[in-house]
Symmetry: C2
Subunit: 353 residues, 2 copies
């Protein structure tokens, strides 16, 4: 579909690390769906998941336990198996000549690692040193919507409250949501072992609940998820001075993150229609904004799509340079898998691999 320009090009040896996870599975599907020129696909996982088989195009591929040697001959390695695995194995993959596109937070804020959303800062790919970081899911969809606004009108401030799906916490969290939901409906006791943070001490049910904690807490009272949104947004948009605040909340949705975003732009005299006009033409954005038709984005409608959906655009009633937006995207696709594959596509397009 979007791949004609590389037809008849070289085929690449791609590895997916964490292939059996919620994001890994979507990476494999996205490589196929977007016709990425995969000559060979290596699927890697933990020892526990090794031996499983996954379908790619018409092939069945056996998943192998990840180890440094598995990266011999790999051109592009997509990592999504947690920060510890990336820290241990990404340098090994780079040493063996692979370019790593890492979906964990392991390297995102390192100065010599570009943090890339192709619609926003594709040109940062030119200075990579083997590792390219894929931003946090909730950050990606927000900057895709904010960058065209920044370009047109300037941007001074962002305050976001998120409505995040459980799939951001992995396949186990989806299972937990389903099992808890069944238990509630059947009047049975509810068990919580995964959310809000598997490795944290306390766990709370997410079924028919909202949990205002994603990732662990920092000393400043913000969670790591909130600080990721704050710091990554500044880095991706090249705006260290941008004011960003975030409150990240998990809700009982399987997939699809939503965000209520308040922004203040630089320019005066801009209307909601001006913002709509800009977003209607923006790459990777689908404008869904017509109150008279009850048209606005919702997670249930965005699942399986690569785009970022924006609606509910309206000017603040007190601040002429303030606007409210509602931004929704599939957190496993644009928030993770498809952004990673898009980075690989950009590398090809720019002749960087």
């Amino acid at each position: 579909m979007e791949g004609e320009w590389w037809m008849a090009q070289k085929q690449y040896h791609v590895a997916v690390v964490g292939a059996t996870g919620a994001v890994g599975q979507q990476m494999v599907r996205t490589l196929e769906d977007r016709n990425f020129p995969v000559g060979k696909l290596t699927l890697l996982s933990s020892e526990r998941s090794a031996g499983k088989k996954m379908r790619f195009r018409s092939e069945e591929i056996e998943v192998q336990a990840a180890s440094p040697e598995r990266f011999d001959g790999v051109d592009i390695a997509l990592f999504s198996a947690g920060g510890a695995v990336s820290k241990a194995l990404a340098p090994e993959a780079v040493r063996r000549g692979a370019i790593v596109i890492d979906n964990t937070s392991a390297f995102r804020m390192e100065e010599n690692v570009p943090l890339v959303v192709p619609e926003v800062n594709e040109s940062d790919l030119t200075w990579h040193n083997g590792i390219i970081a894929n931003p946090n899911c909730s950050t990606i969809q927000m900057v895709v919507a904010l960058e065209p606004i920044r370009k047109a009108f300037g941007l001074e401030r962002v305050i976001v409250s998120t409505y995040q799906a459980v799939s951001g916490a992995g396949a186990q969290a989806i299972e937990e949501l389903n099992e808890q939901t069944k238990a509630v409906l059947e009047g049975k006791p509810v068990e919580a072992n995964i959310l809000p943070v598997k490795s944290d001490r306390k766990h709370y049910p997410i079924a028919f609940n909202a949990i205002p904690q994603i990732d662990k807490f920092q000393d400043n009272g913000f969670t790591f998820e909130e600080m990721k949104m704050i710091n990554e947004t500044k880095k991706i948009m090249h705006m260290p001075e941008l004011k960003v605040a975030a409150t990240c909340v998990r809700i009982p949705v399987a997939s699809g993150h939503s965000e209520s975003v308040y922004i203040e732009i630089e320019q005066d005299g801009v209307t909601a229609s001006d913002l709509q006009a800009v977003l209607r033409e923006a790459p990777g954005v689908v404008l869904q904004d017509d109150p008279s038709e009850q048209l606005y984005p919702m997670p249930a409608h965005c699942v399986g799509k690569y785009d970022v959906f924006v609606g509910r655009i309206r000017r603040d009633l007190d601040n002429r340079r303030g606007f409210h937006l509602w931004i929704v995207a599939d957190n496993l696709l644009k928030g993770a898998a498809s952004n990673s594959v898009q980075i690989a596509e950009s590398l090809l397009k720019l002749g960087l691999i």
Copy 2:
């Protein structure tokens, strides 16, 4: 429990209009639970629900079809049967000598109708003319938390994003959430007939979804629910100049509204601990704020409680007078039924009835 001061006082004839609805049922329970001095209880409803029986204390009371004559002899009438019913019958009740406490939006913004949250503006009850309005659910819990902050440090600005439970749309919406959820889990087709707004043209599933529409849209792009939060907050807090913005979102929770609230206060040099100290002592507020213990409010924990729960208090990283809070309450109780009964208690305490 909280009622000793009126022991041995007069007993009152109380009517509940909309008794069989989600809020009406909680009104009956709350009157009993808080030992309100009910001498006689009249339960009123639509023709359709008339004849049903409801338990109050040890009695079974038959629900009657509402009509003007039913208010003969009634001292206090709690209305929660929709704006049309309030507009038609509240003046009739007042004409017959009742004080009306109205939970609909019918009279809230009328100049000669006090809009009351007892913890915030109890003294507005002194100038009522027969009708007292109970604010919108999402407004009530927010002002209970903001008023003590305003008193201590001043308040300039509020930006709120809500996470609202379906019970705010009535008993049918709870049923719809449950049925849709079952259908999704069983892989069956999902039907939507109630949410986001029963009388609006389009309906969307709420199960495993988030809907950024509560009540219909106004021409300015905000929904009526959002405008209620904006206008009612100003009226209750006596702050016509307060900057308030709201984005109201329905999530798949049965009961318990949550709110992500950003505020800017007047005073400089205030810390999150200062806000915690004020809220710890505030009437009707329970502070649940200890990140080191993963302690924060959640809707699943607030159901059945009369209080407003506040946590996640932290200072904004860019604005020294900016703070973020997470506010949760049972929308059927403090957001509706128990605030109405508290208004009645205040009338008694102040000798206004």
